[in-house]
């Protein structure tokens, strides 16, 4: 069995504490992962400046080419991992085994991460609006209109408390490396695979190992990272987001409550967009914050619900290695049962109808795991509690709401896809500050253009734009 060790500034640390990871379906032991404690992180963070120093010793152009090399290695090569090696197939199998995601979804997530790293130069160009990366490295420079600009890095390292079961989110921290900011990561207990493999690829591609820490461990490790890193990300629940709201040091990522909003000008042609709705709800087994959890329209909501239910309600559970598997397992069966209990409460409310009720049992319990099959419910008003719910499986509420009330009723929305050509409404949507990513037109909520910032621009998070004035000085010659 593979033993994965914590990494402290590039060096493996052989811990005496381990957490074992088992295959959710077969019970087969997959790996044991060494654990650290918060105090260790605290002691290590005193040396965080060395990480940025090591990265700054390499020109950004070189770092970018090494990142591209790392992307290739991440996607195609066998890499060192813990006390052994990991092939691409091992990675896919291990990730599926511990997260419950079907293997082909793991492969898709891998490709997504690889895409971001392979195109890191273009992505950074978009995020910086074309500024020379040397300006970020040096701290100041010439913008091109005879104007000095300065971007001061706010932290030597980016901390990240990563999620357990969403291998797609890792794209968010990858750009830190070419920006010469080190990485301090706490991998999720069930998804250590992507961060470990990515760091291994970075190191193999020639990026200094001392720029990286990987700290598997308990809650104290996460809280220490958030406390000690000047900039960090955390992925968690709505409560987590609330807890860190207003904390400029922490970027909190929670549920997306992503939605499709159908305008009155196209709602009578809703059937034209059914496949787009299905993709938005079902892709990645509904696990992502960019999956659609609400479809809002002023009419035809019952028909939309019925049609969606007919498309996804009968989705069967298939083995994780089946390329057609559309549903991920809950590796903790209690979580599936708990989620289903909450859904039951939602659909008990008057005005809410479960459109998938006739498509068989939704909660399917297996020996070591459980599944929740897709659910489509309709709500006759935004006032129904289910209108604001998001769950970790393909679940969507089709909410009846007039167009004029829609923007003010939808609540926070990570991705909003608006089906409309109504210029006045598009203008209102554009100005709605509670919608983060806005798609105008039939774009599935789950399809992201990586050249656009996601939940805040990483440049704004890691750097501060400030004044920097240089007046030439006459210095006496030294003899």
């Amino acid at each position: 069995m593979l033993t994965i060790n914590p990494i402290r500034w590039g060096k493996q640390y052989k811990s005496l504490d381990f957490q074992e990871v088992f295959h959710f379906d077969t019970g087969e032991p997959i790996a044991k992962i060494g654990q650290v404690n918060g105090g260790m992180v605290e002691m290590d963070m005193r040396k965080a400046s060395n990480a940025r120093k090591a990265l700054r010793s390499i020109p950004t152009a070189d770092l970018i080419s090494r990142c591209k090399k790392a992307a290739h290695m991440f996607e195609h090569e066998t890499l060192p991992l813990g006390d052994g090696h990991q092939s691409v197939d091992d990675f896919i199998h291990q990730q599926s085994a511990s997260t419950g995601l079907p293997e082909h979804m793991c492969r898709n997530n891998m490709q997504k991460n690889c895409f971001v790293l392979s195109n890191i130069d273009t992505i950074l160009d978009s995020l910086t609006r074309g500024l020379d990366l040397e300006i970020f490295s040096r701290g100041y420079g010439e913008e091109g209109r005879n104007v000095t600009v300065s971007f001061q890095c706010q932290t030597p390292v980016l901390g990240a408390v990563l999620p357990n079961n969403s291998p797609g989110v890792h794209t968010l921290w990858l750009p830190a490396v070419p920006l010469q900011v080190g990485l301090v990561l706490k991998p999720g207990s069930q998804e250590p695979w992507t961060p470990y493999r990515m760091i291994s690829a970075f190191i193999e591609a020639g990026i200094p190992a001392e720029a990286f820490c990987l700290y598997p461990g308990g809650h104290d490790v996460g809280s220490t990272i958030l406390n000690k890193c000047s900039r960090s990300m955390i992925f968690g629940s709505a409560q987590t987001v609330e807890q860190y709201s207003g904390n400029s040091k922490v970027q909190a990522h929670g549920p997306g409550f992503s939605k499709i909003l159908i305008g009155d000008d196209v709602v009578d042609q809703w059937e034209d967009y059914l496949d787009m709705m299905v993709e938005s709800v079902l892709s990645n087994s509904g696990r992502s914050c960019i999956n659609c959890s609400g479809i809002w329209a002023s009419r035809h909501t019952k028909a939309i619900g019925e049609a969606l239910a007919a498309k996804i309600g009968a989705t069967e559970i298939l083995p994780p290695n089946n390329p057609k598997a559309a549903l991920a397992a809950f590796t903790n069966p209690l979580m599936a049962k708990g989620t289903y209990a909450m859904v039951q409460q939602d659909i008990a409310e008057s005005g809410v109808i479960d459109m998938t009720a006739s498509y068989g049992e939704r909660l399917v319990e297996r020996e070591r795991a459980a599944y929740l099959r897709p659910m489509v419910v309709t709500a006759d008003s935004p006032q129904r509690a289910v209108a604001m719910k998001e769950y970790m499986f393909p679940f969507v509420s089709v909410v009846q709401c007039s167009q004029k009330d829609m923007i003010k009723s939808i609540g926070p929305t990570l991705v909003g896809t608006a089906l409309t050509a109504d210029a006045a409404w598009i203008d209102d949507l554009t100005n709605a500050t509670h919608i983060d990513r806005l798609n105008i037109g039939p774009m599935p909520t789950s399809r992201l253009n990586w050249l656009q910032p996601h939940e805040g621009n990483l440049i704004d998070f890691l750097f501060r734009s400030r004044a920097y004035q240089v007046v030439p000085m006459r210095v006496a010659q030294t003899v």
Binding site: G39, M43, R46
Partner: protein, 376 residues
Amino acid sequence: MTVSTPAWLATNEQTTNAKQALDQQTFETVQWHFHDSTGSPFWLAKKAEFKFDPLKDVKVFDDLKKFPEFEDEWLRGGPINRWIPKGLLGKPAYVFETGGTTGIPKSRMVIDDFKIDYELFSHTLPDEYFPKGSNWLMLGPSGPRRLRLAIEHLCQYRGGICFCIDLDPRWVVKLIKKGWMEHLEEYKRHCIDQAITVLTANHDIKCMFTTPKLLESLAVGLAEKDTSIQEIGITGIFSGGTEFTPQWTRFCVEELLGGPAEESGVYMTPTYGNTLMGLACSRPVTIDDGYTIAYYAPQPRAVVEVVDFEDHTKVVGYGETGRVKLYTMTKEFFVPGFLERDEGEREMPYKKYPWDGVSGVRPYRAFASSTTVGVY
């Protein structure tokens, strides 16, 4: 396969002698607590409920199995005086409490036990690292807890003066439950800042008591000031109050204290105990022993057993996992078997403490998720 015998293992003669002393202590303690002239109102009342006569039917330690398990709920609420044995009436008494974040705390009446326990413990401390006459710092819970007075007595018994920094664990638990982590950090910093101030004020403090989490915070706080526990002159640390894992102990020794005692000059001894029992000492913690933390109760005054999770009268085999069960047998307090909120592995007798011990102590799995371990 040949299994090598550990060098630290007690001899048969040592264990036999220890067993005899335990049986003797059991007999005398039961006679004291259940005799009408010396027993406490609590136990004399309980005696009427038993289907056996403790005075006649309890002769050796194993006879304690006749008693029902001690329920710590009995310690909640008063009157506290019902615990005072008639034979000790009139002596100055203390009350020490545990729990109490919400609801009524558990109270234990004490007269001299804490002094006796810590004096016995004092004799286990190596003078090289805990020099007689040196001053101490007590960084941990005081208030209604036993620790402040106990550590202070330990220090005085060894000829020193004890400086104290208080930490209120009830407030810490509340902060954690409320999710007020910023307040928690600030409170921790408040305690550590005071400790650093005392340690840097030329008081010749060489020894200290603190909890594992506070020790970690102190080391980090000192590191932020470019110094260390080693540099500041601490040579002996007695720590306890929360769980010790081998990994944490290794981290502590290697990274907070500057290495093993023989290299760094700083010795740390983990302990296990509570207000009901005395203080269980640990076998020396070494790299060769995989940083195993094995505790031994101060027999015959107290006993630790590791019992089957289902059958609490059955001791598990050596190396096997079970629930920690405590017994206390002093003239002040009698506990004929109390199930702790911990589990661990049964350890073989150690030559210095020739009776069973327990290692790998951690919160009992059935309670683990509801146990809040804060900075204390």
